[in-house]
Amino acid sequence: MKAKKTEILLRHPREATPVPIVADAALSTVGLHGGKMLPVLLLDTSNRPDVAEFIRVHESLGPGDVEFQWGKIEGHEGTVALFLKFIRPIELFLVLEFDIVRQGILVDQALTGQGIYIARANGAGDRLKYDIDRPKVIVEVADTGFRQTWDELLKKHLVKHFRQDGLGRHESRRAARSLIQELRKIGSLRIRDTHD
């Protein structure tokens, strides 16, 4: 898939800054999204009160509509971004940015599970386990053909990372391939519905 540059109209300058991901986890719920394991992103909403508000009221207003686009922010190397434009129940635009090497598992899991959870972090050291029942919004991220581009990006950056760590070219490739296989083995787990 050939990448193309595009411009996005924002309502406020703060929308251009990616919302920081404080912590992450993975969650699989019986009867929800086919029991697929989805990444949970705890977001630092201190500079985005509208995102905090969105997560707060989402439970009252029910499901809505979202448009999304995988891409890359100009000048940000080694990352991919997910641009989310919520239309209803609340109009909101937010950008989530992922470091390919460090947070690639989140992107990979979002593509495998075709969704992500977003939730609000309570401070810098917060973890999902501290309050697992906090309000969460599930965002469906269907396959739009980004998977092929992602596979190439992930492999390329992992190989580069292993090379920087001192591995040879051949070994780096093998290590990257092996790591991706293991990630996907874990990521494909799902909790199926039980029928008595």
Partner: protein, 193 residues
Amino acid sequence: MPYNITAFADPKTSIAALALLVSFFSLLISWRSGKRAARALSISEGQEQRRQPRLGIYMVRGYRRRGSKRQLFGFLVSVTNPTDTNNSIARAELQITYLLEDDVNVVCRVSHAEGLDENALADPKGVANVFSLPAHIDAHQTLSGWFLFALDDSVIGKGTVDSHSLILEDTHGISTDTGPIMVREWSHEGKKD
């Protein structure tokens, strides 16, 4: 000694004059054709524009009533289809813009709830025509009825409501909105008569 002759005009000059006349007529005809073509284009553009789907909204009345844990909104509107294309109202939403404590704008959308049992909000006599969506609307026709919305108090919380507007989306995904509308507190006006 006088020498009379009959001088004939140079045939090249008369042919040139004739050609000029013919070209003048051609110019006249092509100017008229151009004018007619422009009119025909204008008419077909007008027809094409009339074929483009769009809805018009006329807001007759808008009311709000506070419940114990929620607010109910009722809007009596006329929806017109001024185009040559049959259409449908696929979705009706109340857009509420409210401000958080730090003046952050939040825009939320609430869907039309035709099954609201508090129809008394719309019509004290209980004969209100509440829109049932999707609502078919033929070309050059008008529909009139109520759109009802319920909003839990917990949604806006401590926020301050800035504006309300009604958004209708048609079959083609084209949205029409009323712009900011005034919402009056509902009172049982029928009893005053």
